[in-house]
Symmetry: C2
Subunit: 339 residues, 2 copies
Amino acid sequence: MSYRRPTIVDVASLSGVSKATVSNVVRGKGSVSPATRSRVLTAIETLGYRPNASARSLVRQRTDVLGLVAGNLGNAFEAELVERIEQVASERRFTTLVCTTSRNPEDETSKVATLLEQRVAGIAMLQFSGDRHLMAQLVTEHVPVVMVSCWDDYADCVAVDDAAGLELAVGHLARLGHRRIAYVTDERVESTTRRIRLEGFQRALLRHGLEFHPDWVMHGNGGPGGDQPGNFVDFFERRGLPDAVVATNDNIAITLIEQLESQGWRVPDDVSIVGFDGSRVAGLHRIGLTTIAQPVEQLAQFSVELLLDRVVGESRRERRHVRLEPKLMVRTSTSARAK
Amino acid sequence: MSYRRPTIVDVASLSGVSKATVSNVVRGKGSVSPATRSRVLTAIETLGYRPNASARSLVRQRTDVLGLVAGNLGNAFEAELVERIEQVASERRFTTLVCTTSRNPEDETSKVATLLEQRVAGIAMLQFSGDRHLMAQLVTEHVPVVMVSCWDDYADCVAVDDAAGLELAVGHLARLGHRRIAYVTDERVESTTRRIRLEGFQRALLRHGLEFHPDWVMHGNGGPGGDQPGNFVDFFERRGLPDAVVATNDNIAITLIEQLESQGWRVPDDVSIVGFDGSRVAGLHRIGLTTIAQPVEQLAQFSVELLLDRVVGESRRERRHVRLEPKLMVRTSTSARAK
DNA sequence: TTGAAAGCGCTAACAC
DNA sequence: GTGTTAGCGCTTTCAA
């Protein structure tokens, strides 16, 4: 004899009503007399009845589950974002199916396929390889998608204003007297964002009357697992140390600091460093990374809202692209240029 | 007219077979002639058919979803663990529903309830308040549960060997000549683990001929959100600085360092610090936290294995409690005692 | 090798 | 205010 979970029918027969009535009580819909309601509630209690989400989803043709595609939770910023999105979704009575892709396009494809089989009500992508085929599929299957801290013209998007962020970074460095400013990007950042940030960097330099040297753009490419960039030291030994470096995210910035310091260079005395993300680690005194903070809370709120707007409202509205204000966090990795 | 997803019936009629046959093809079970198989496959392709997990779960009376209860993904160790568990589960064709509790018992209860409604095949708890009622419920509902880096006698468990970890920590400090060793615990660590670690600390002191002072045990209690401990400075100003401090996790250790240094004390010159977890941050040169590393990879592997063992094998086997070897990572937060 | 049929547990019309 | 009923999309006997 094996254990069988109580169903709505068990509750119905125990309380002497039909299952429709039990359903009404459970959902708090329809009209049920106080007396029956309490009888049903008692039966639910004594049986330990718990509605079956699969059955409900099947008939309602919709789940209460959101899919969340992240790249790598070892990245503190992404982990925080995942946590907040889960919490905001939970407040709206949605659960979250979390997947990680290790920034690997094949994983991305297969994980999204899994989410689609699970019939998630919507998908938030915190990492997107840019795969056109994937996007097309998502569109044809009518699954609401939001790009969070990512960008794709064919989906709702919510991200920090990258250009404004780079303006903050460069402006800060310019005010400190730095003129030769290098940039470190990373192949694993989603391509549109990567491009926009680099362009933003160029424009900010221009605006501050500083020169842009393609030679000073380093394209970090990650080693296996984690956000380990390439070898910065080689790069700077060949080209000489710039006054300052803007990195495309905090992880890269921190690794850069580690590598520079292990070669005897000092931050910020020899070179100032600015990160991007505003992850918790950056705020530690020992790290003290000046960075462009992304508004995690707003990113989470907006992404869930954009998603549920389409899920619940089934609104055929236009795609919305939201840009949020970044914030400059000045710490000890930047200082005035030595004369 | 609204969009309707293709179902197994659509595939069946397009390929001119019954849905049972389509089902056989999809699942790769039963016997289907090569000819029909390929006809069905073509139909699936052209329709973009995707099996509906809810329908399948309903009839199979089981989902392919694992529930994962974490405390706080801002904690790097927990985030890494979540990521690895998701990946290991994914290799076994299971998806993961991730919940965070902010180490809040009410959230824990409600999130577990949600997982139960979703009929997850099993639950991995990376955080457990110790709620007896919750455990009882889980047991009566016959849901496989595994405590990961947590402990509860009534469930399968996989955790680091806490006592061995503290022996490593204290042994290391003793060898460096430290004698007055303090301990910082944290209310938010699951209670059994908290107790075992403290006892392990005491026993390790004893074994190394060092005295244990209850006065030197500081019970950190977190502020809201994140792992912020209480005010360590007050504590040490009242009792004087010990030779060294062992912290119950890396986050606490790092905060401790920050607080001490902000008061002008130096680590490790004035006091050595040892953490617990082996999170990525601890390994940064700027942090250089000596710590007891937990075997994340093994924790992930074992936890999924223990869970699926019960899910798939429906084995009525005894509860299993696995303890894994910790590893001492010596870095720069510890040094020989100044004479 | 294939098909017909009986549900899995629930919701939502629609009667009464 | 309550009950009846017809599925939702799939798996799984059991026949053919």
